[in-house]
Symmetry: C2
Subunit: 226 residues, 2 copies
DNA sequence: GTACATCCTGACCACATGGTCAACCTCATG
DNA sequence: CATGAGGTTGACCATGTGGTCAGGATGTAC
């Protein structure tokens, strides 16, 4: 119904130039604003009105593009999950534990750093009992964790690291890295700064890498080149 | 001593027996219910109606006891801060770092364990930018952290542990322990369990203690029994 | 110009929101 | 019994909620 394709006319370009461009620009604006509002107030606490104001658009326009509050929220979650899934996608038993763990910590830290609102959105969803993400958690993400946990275990068997519980190790890395996005307000309040700089992130990453690798009996990367 | 016979006139004192008891019972019921609802949906997302239903009381009754939604929320935050302040209250440079750090991890873990809703309430407040807690964070809590950080530094100077940044170490312990309350839904989904048992908590505590102490170059308590 | 799809939005709807209030109930004491 | 303070709550209010819709604006293709 939205589009009526002509059977024979060579309409290579149905949509006008402004069409796609306008849509893309507005959707991006709305998604950015919505991520911020949902992150700050959770699903119920966020109002379409507030999102619209943050995006500089009338409420009706937001609903025109996104259909519904729920649809918008789900779309944001899916975008965040996609970013997440790209993390540490290909590791094998033959990789160097130190390198992989450092890459894990670093990339997770970068993810929280680059998408703090998305990170908080995710956190708020989990805090509320993950009503929209239960299937993802006990499906895709669980598999993701189990696969990596198996590799950690094999490393332990080969004596490349201590035989720590791999799942709790993953949780430890998650929580430690996520903290700087989710609890940013706390970190800033306590340290007395007004922002977390790139240099801070670099230092925190180094700190976490050092403590966690040493804590698991993994030697730092420099010690294990071939 | 439920009632004190007034020496002169029974004018000033009028509280009946049922008065205090009823009030106490209802307030406790409301606070428990409210903590759960605020934790799940944040300040804006929680409705007085939902809290009332969770407490098994009419909405009017909740407002009769608590005055306003905001007052109820602030009261819950203060209760949680009081629990928090009792943590690791007296440590000195002369204590054993291993014992103190383990006690810190353990008591923080127990706090999250005993008050998961309060923990999530706090988390939701910080996630939303800590609109009600900014002063507390940059005041009391900041002092709390600085005092303990100073002690960690002195331990490092004495060679009792690695010279890691003490503030980030505190954040690391906070995030790792808080994770099991705040992200409970994630932990359960991924591990496939339906609850986190006392035995799990014990094992997680041991894991965190081992990794963090070793990671900071602290030796475990020499006199550890078994 | 006409045609047509997309874009835009104020007005509107049914319902939920936090909060108020007056009327009621309960019950120990005088 | 009557008093009176605490406890209880349905009805009510102004405002906010997510969502709909009709009608107009805009721009490109013919």
């Amino acid at each position: 119904m939205p589009q009526t394709p002509s059977p024979e006319k060579p309409r290579t370009r149905i949509a006008s130039v402004s069409n796609g461009a306008t849509r893309e620009r507005n959707e991006r604006e709305i998604l950015t604003a919505a991520e911020r509002v949902f992150a700050a107030h959770g699903y119920r606490g966020a109002s379409v009105q507030a999102i619209a104001e943050a995006a500089g658009l009338p409420k009706s326009n937001v609903l025109y593009y996104m259909g519904s509050k729920r649809g918008l929220y789900v779309r944001l979650l899916e975008r965040m999950m996609a970013r997440w899934n790209a993390l540490l996608d290909d590791i094998s038993v033959d990789d160097d534990p130190a390198e992989v763990l450092e890459a894990f910590i670093r990339s997770k830290m970068e993810l929280s750093r680059r998408h703090p609102e998305g990170s908080r959105l995710f956190a708020a969803e989990i805090l509320g009992g993950a009503p929209f993400l239960q299937d993802y958690l006990s499906g895709e993400l669980r598999t993701w964790v189990e696969e990596r946990a198996r590799i950690f275990e094999q490393w332990a068997e080969r004596g490349l690291m201590d035989p720590v519980d791999p799942v709790w190790l993953i949780f430890l890395i998650w929580s430690a890295t996520q903290h700087y996005a989710d609890f940013e307000a706390q970190v800033l309040g306590i340290t007395g700064r007004d922002e977390i700089t790139d240099a801070d992130v670099e230092r925190i990453t180094a700190f976490l890498t050092q403590v966690i690798l040493k804590g698991c009996g993994v030697r730092p990367p420099a010690a294990a080149p071939d």
